[in-house]
Amino acid sequence: MSDFRIPTRRGFLKSTAALGGAVALTGLGAGRALAADTTVGFIYVGPKDDYGYNQAHAEGAAAIKGMPGITVVEEENVPESVDVQKSMESMINFDGASLIFPTSFGYFDPHILEMAQKYPDVRFEHCGGMWTADKHPMNVGSYFGYIGMGQYLNGIAAGHATRTKKIGFVAAKPIPQVLLNVNSFLLGARAVDPEITCQVIFTGEWSLAVKEAEAVNALTDQGADVITCHVDGPKVVMETAAGRGAFVCGYHADQSALAPEKYLTGAEWNWANVYTDMAETTLAGGTIDNFVRGGLAEDFIKMSPLGPAVSDASRAQFEDTMATIKKGGFSVIKGPLKDNKGGVIATEGQAFEESDVALESMDYLVEGVIGSTS
């Protein structure tokens, strides 16, 4: 039943509350879509108030709702199957959507690619995908942010907060995007104290609350006193960890409300900025670039405000590092660096900047991370 409170809390009922039962006889509300210049569709793989991946996108969608000339339509909990293809088509056929953001990584191949071929006049913007000019249609674009930097800053806050020198990471799957976050978190903490270790537990699924809670308990049982995560909805991790007395660093969206005392900071997407840009480009008749990437400097990523438990020394190093990152040229993965099996990742002087494509096929955990990718 809690699902039915969601629209109320997020304010979505406001627009329809006045309509009540009377709207019944007024047809299907078809006029709504036609009034606007551009209808933008957003599709989420999970609930849009998950305190995580989907909420971050929904907040981005909310940011462009008020723009003149833009109508936003949304669907949540859409599986990565024929369902999402039909959701896109339904938005095109019934709502006249001409710009669609199917936000889950798994929507890209084959679902978006098929719809893009079928509807060449509709623009499809996908989060996380690797759009390639010679392989993919021109009406598809992919965008993503260098959020590993955010996990590096999380790591700095964690490095100052930990007393046991053990920090923990609850991760979904051992794929490059996740591994980069785990490694960045540990390396951020090691920028404070090189003796810190980070234990990672992979739950195997993007959204699996029970295992996420078990993982947090296992990590705290083993002494980890700062926890972060990379799962779709960090709510369970944040609440369980804070309940166990550990500090937490957020991910995807701002989770400070879930653990106000224990929340140090968090690596957040800033899709509101990205989507506003894209909507403005579209309204002005321009074309969005097919391959868009950005980090802290480009406001694709932001950090949650530092929590009450963050010390002055921590704050100073955090802000200093953030300024360095924003200046550009900063590398988290740089030599000398070994993986946790002893293999060499980078030799002295070798460095991978955030935009380096080599990072997009990461398959290792760095030295100091306890855990295995397989």
Partner: protein, 373 residues
Amino acid sequence: MADQTVSGGGAGLVSVPAASGATARWARRAEALALPLGALVVGLLAFGLFLLALGKSPVQFYELVYKAGFGTWFSWQNTLSRAAPLLFAALCVALPARLGLMIIGGEGAIVLGGVAAGGIGAAVAGWPGAIAMPVMAVFAMLAGGAWIGAVGALRQKRGVNETISSLLMAYIAIAVMNHLVEGPLRDPASLNKPSTAPLPEALRIGEMPGMDVHYGFLIGVICCVISWVLIEKTTWGFAARLVGGNVRAAQIQGLPVGWLLIGFTALGGAFAGLAGMIEVSAVQGSANGSLAAGYGYAGILVAFLARHNGIAIIPVAILIGGMEASSGLIQRRMDLPDATVLVLEGFVFVAILLSETLYGRFKAFSPERWRTA
């Protein structure tokens, strides 16, 4: 052993008494049609009250369901595409149910069928489609059949409750799938979405002529018809229904009860496995975590609404497919959460289950009445 029974006294154990006559048989058929339809209407009305309590218009809701599910040609294609996997998933519930087994873990057979098809497909990628696709289908059906057949065997040999074991085995199946697509069967190029190697175009199931609905729907309809014939018109089906009606009686008749249980659960699993192969070949293009889309669970609802009748599964799957097709438009136009359609399905499901107690309670449907009249 089976022939002994069928010609023997078994006939008296199934529903229609031999002497009831054509009118009485029609009375029963009318009951079998009228009660689920009546329950459907009651469920829809009850859900309407629920919507009113939320301050939403039931009229608008059902108009949207009609529009997005059945109102336009696109809506029909949407509905049929969503119905396709439900046909198979429902068979995985319906066939064992005719023997009295409640299998609710068809999801496991679907994902394993998909992985088998994806793995085999990658291995035979160079073969012509006419050979490779049947090979993929066979392996998918073997995988699904073995998985649900094992549930039947556990029940038969060890007395393990099949409802619980099939559900739990679905979780194991999903874990096995994840292990395989992230490990031994992973295409190294699939970085952030671990998958088996993409199938070449020749191994992809295409769309039926003139519509955006893949052949999987047609295959599903054929499988439903085959299942109906098997259950209603063959001696095996007769023996299966006998086991479902009274397992002791079936044993006394000398029926191979164990083989029937295992065989029909395996067949149901094989259909679910085939659904996995079709998902991989027609929709996904490779096997990956997206296979666990919940079709196996939606199939339970379809099978119950169809009262485990193969032919009835076809219209019911289309009905549920239409409801799910409308979920998006309802979210967008009425600002209701996506769970709304699930709640609707829940109302209908409960109404249908309650209606089960009404069989034989209405005089109008009583064969006795029609015989004397």
